[in-house]
């Protein structure tokens, strides 16, 4: 028998949440039975809520990175409403809610207060939904970036105002049906533009760290949170979190849908430091956008008419452009 060589193959590698074949030190935060469970059981998020999951993923990773010395400001939205119907709270972190528009500013204030009190050990996260971030809270957010306040802002992007009944936000994707962008007659659902890309706008503030992540890639998300917590100054993390209710997908398919968003190229996952892209998550098994769109009733109208079909082609073009722009498939790989 020849002498054993080091094995570099671990069955599921880091694709799964845990892996019994990997050393404990390199396993995910979520695989740890002692994880913080920052957002605990009993919350009132819908079945299969991606936002509830994304928030626990992100805050558990942050809690580990800063040894539990964390305070969180939360904008109004599902995440706040489903977690804290007074007097119940699901939070196992120091957590504060103020308004819909001002989470970034509250974060700024918390960071300033900690600085004044000399509590350099305590770190600050501000978080909210896409509506609270890319629309109504945007001025506060841009100010926080511009002043380089020591806050990590996390946006949980479910691509509409879910808590008030699925109204369009500027993060709602092309062609999606929402309560305010119905698909009637010639209307395509949401307009066929490419929305507002806040991660790229954040980069334009030249802040230390900007990243996108998804509930479909836990290890990537945890790594980014950990990295963000090791840096000071303004940081931004944009997490893709499917909403079964608003998107009209199966409650068991939340992660699958998020995975297809990334694998089709519609949701590019990357990171940037001081305005320069420094990393990208490569597509592993590229799929046409149809596979993503067809799981969601908010896009079902697109598959019923020839105009709709043409719009699907436009959405495919958006995905292709993302892939080219962010370099999401290796050079020379088949399209």
């Amino acid at each position: 028998m020849t002498s054993p060589l080091p094995i570099k193959f671990y069955q599921t590698g880091t694709f799964t949440v845990g892996n019994r074949l990997l050393d404990v030190s390199v396993r995910s935060v979520q695989s740890d039975s002692q994880r913080n469970n920052s957002l605990n059981s009993g919350h009132r998020a819908c079945q299969g809520c991606g936002e509830a999951l994304g928030a626990r993923y992100a805050l558990d990773a942050a809690m580990r990175a800063v040894n539990g010395r964390l305070v969180v400001a939360n904008a109004t939205g599902c995440l706040e409403v489903f977690s804290t119907p007074y007097p119940e709270s699901s939070w196992r972190v120091a957590w504060l809610h103020s308004l819909f528009a001002n989470a970034a500013a509250v974060g700024t204030g918390m960071a300033a207060a900690m600085k004044v009190k000399g509590r350099t050990d305590v770190r600050v996260i501000a978080q909210g939904g896409d509506g609270g971030t890319v629309d109504i809270g945007f001025a506060c957010l841009s100010g926080m970036f511009e002043r380089n306040d020591d806050v990590l802002y996390i946006c949980y992007d479910n691509e509409a105002y879910m808590n008030t009944g699925v109204q369009r936000s500027s993060a709602t994707p092309a062609g999606a049906r929402t309560a305010t962008t119905p698909a009637v007659g010639e209307a395509p659902g949401n307009v066929m533009n490419q929305g507002k890309n806040v991660p790229l706008i954040a980069m334009a503030h030249f802040i230390p760290y900007v990243a996108t992540a998804s509930v479909a890639d836990l290890r990537d998300l945890e790594t980014k949170v950990d990295k963000a917590m090791r840096v000071h100054g303004a940081r931004y993390l944009h997490v893709h979190v499917p909403c079964p209710l608003g998107w009209g997908c199966d409650t068991g398919d939340t992660i699958k849908v998020a995975r297809l968003a990334a694998e089709s190229g519609l949701y590019p996952i990357f990171e940037a430091e001081y305005g320069e892209i420094t990393g990208r998550r490569m597509i592993r098994k590229r799929v046409p956008v149809d596979e993503y769109l067809k799981l969601q009733s908010r896009f079902s109208h697109l598959f019923k008419t020839t105009e709709g079909r043409a719009r699907v082609a436009q959405i495919q073009a958006i995905a292709d452009r993302n892939i080219a722009r962010f370099g999401l498939v290796p050079e020379g790989a088949p399209a």
Partner: protein, 541 residues
């Protein structure tokens, strides 16, 4: 009050809100039947032993095999691995090399001297096993584990049956076979060689056996009548293979015809090359597709330079010239003569036309019925005669070593029940973990480890083993290619992906539990379970 940093409200207060009441479907952990296990004629729990091997826990893996099969090192070499034909991984890249890992474990066990002990206290019951082939050995082994006293009567001079006198050394080195048989003998099984049973009834009475397992194998070669000028030029396959085993150098000459299309024909043709024949030509009456030999054996024979003449029968021999007739397949795929003849020059011809069982010693056994040359048995492997069980080649089934081992195990369980005055109840079969029940996204991509085969030129010169084994590093790699179909392998996905923290992690080896107080029944755990071990079931509402 003991509250975490900066927390003022009572923490965890949302725990009063039991969201489990929302549920219309509940997830349940299941163990589905992996397709490999389902296909294994010996009933091995392949997924389970690979699970241990994945962790490098080779001894536990080997012990898991030994629960069902006492011959892992043999099996890893000679089994036609129907498990791999059904392996779900084949739909991703290629099947897990199950036989290669099994062989590695079997060889490691021999090298390390691992042994097994009887599981049950001695019952004082005596069982006779007739035949020390794979079926008899397996039955003796399982009966010994169950506490019975077993004696094996074997007509030949050594154990193994067709594993010794049919399968050539280049497929199964004899030291491997001997080591695995010795382990069975060490369990207390008595072996009597050169002891052909002539009168079963008399023997059972004389030596006071409580039950008997018949596993005599098929050793009588089927013959075809070929008028020959020189009868010594025509011999049968078993005669040849037995001779080689005994160290003889049969006079085959330069050019050898092998008549038949089964695995034995391949064994003979490949052995003929090793015995110095320059040309070995397999003559078969149908086509390659219709050949009963396994495809990889045909391929290996071709690689070694064995030639094939399809759609041909041999009709006569005169002065080293064989007259052959061309055949054609009719609509039913049956070969029909065409009346077109030609001649082939050859120095000898080996008949590999199949084998029959010698049933002469069963004539006096009351109640036992023989139909089409095989003994009829019930689902419990018992013949028409009470207490007389049978298995292997002598009962109606596919004739392979693995099927025989499976019969031996199955019979042992029923014999044990019979001896204890009860009926063995086989556990219910679980639903098969088919490919569509898996979420294969989660498995890393990995090519198959190819066994280092000796190159074809070297192969034909000796009876050295043809296919090489795995070593520690690539055996582990190969084991880890297993998808663990239908059975939890503790990847933590359910524990991680639940938005409601409703999965409880019980610790290594203990798997998980659902907390139905909070589980809303979204089904994410089930969708994201890589191996299909979570089923959603409707709630009674």
């Amino acid at each position: 009050m003991n509250k975490p940093f900066a927390i003022t409200l009572d923490i965890g207060t949302s725990l009063v809100n039991k969201t489990g009441t929302w549920r219309t479907e509940r997830p349940v952990y299941v163990d589905r039947l992996p397709p490999c296990n389902n296909a294994c004629p010996a009933g091995e729990n392949i997924q389970q032993w690979l699970f241990h091997a994945e962790e490098g826990n080779y001894e536990a893996a080997w012990r898991e095999i030994m629960k069902n099969n006492p011959l892992p090192a043999v099996m890893g070499r000679v089994c036609y691995h129907p498990c791999e034909d059904c392996c779900n991984r084949a739909k991703l890249d290629s099947a897990v090399g199950i036989h290669a890992v099994e062989r590695f474990l079997g060889d490691l066990a021999i090298a390390q001297g691992w042994n097994v002990k009887a599981e049950k206290p001695s019952t004082g019951k005596r069982v006779l096993v007739v035949g020390a082939g794979p079926s008899g050995l397996a039955c003796a082994y399982h009966l010994a584990l169950l506490g019975h006293s077993v004696t094996v009567h074997e007509a030949g001079p050594a154990p193994g049956g067709m594993m010794r006198f049919g399968i050539p050394k280049y497929r199964l080195p004899r030291e491997v076979l001997d080591a695995e048989v010795k382990r069975i003998a060490d369990l207390g099984v008595t072996f009597c060689y050169n002891r052909k049973v002539e009168d079963l009834d008399a023997l059972m009475k004389a030596e006071r056996y409580d039950a008997v397992f018949l596993a005599v194998g098929a050793h009588l070669a089927k013959r075809a009548y070929i008028p020959a000028g020189d009868a010594s030029k025509i011999m049968d396959a078993l005669q040849l293979l037995r001779g080689v085993e005994a160290g003889e150098q049969p006079m085959l000459g330069r050019r050898v015809l092998v008549y038949g299309g089964g695995n034995t024909a391949m064994d003979v043709a490949r052995s003929a090359k090793r015995l110095g024949a320059a040309e070995a030509i397999v003559v078969y009456r149908r086509t390659r597709e219709k050949m009963p030999a396994h495809d990889f054996e045909v391929q290996e024979a071709m690689d070694e330079g064995v030639m094939f003449k399809w759609l041909t029968t041999i009709t006569a021999e005169k002065d080293g010239e064989f007259t052959v007739e061309k055949m054609r397949l009719d609509e039913k795929g049956k070969p029909q003569p065409t009346g077109e003849f030609e001649t082939m020059k050859a120095d000898s011809c080996v008949l590999a036309l199949g084998q029959d069982v010698d049933m002469s010693f069963l004539k006096q056994v009351k109640g036992l019925t023989v139909t089409d040359g095989v003994v009829e048995v019930g689902p419990d492997m018992m013949t028409g005669c009470k207490g007389v069980f049978a298995g292997g080649d002598m009962v109606p089934a596919e004739r392979t070593v693995t099927v025989a081992v499976g019969h031996g195990k199955k019979a042992a369980r029923y014999i044990d029940g019979y001896l204890r005055g009860a009926t063995y109840q086989a556990p219910p079969k679980h639903e098969v973990a088919s490919f569509d029940l898996l979420n294969t996204w989660y498995y890393s991509d990995a090519p198959a480890t190819v066994q280092p085969a000796l190159d074809a030129a070297r192969r034909t010169e000796s009876f050295d083993e043809v296919v090489g084994g795995l070593d520690q590093s690539n055996a582990l790699f190969e084991a880890r290619r297993c998808l663990s179909c239908g059975n939890c392998f503790e990847c933590d996905n359910c524990f991680g992906v639940c938005p409601d923290n409703a999965v409880i992690k019980l610790g290594p080896g203990k798997r998980f539990k659902f907390n139905y107080d909070y589980c809303k029944g979204c089904g994410m755990c089930s969708t994201e379970c890589p191996c299909g071990a979570i089923r959603m079931e409707p709630e009674n509402i």
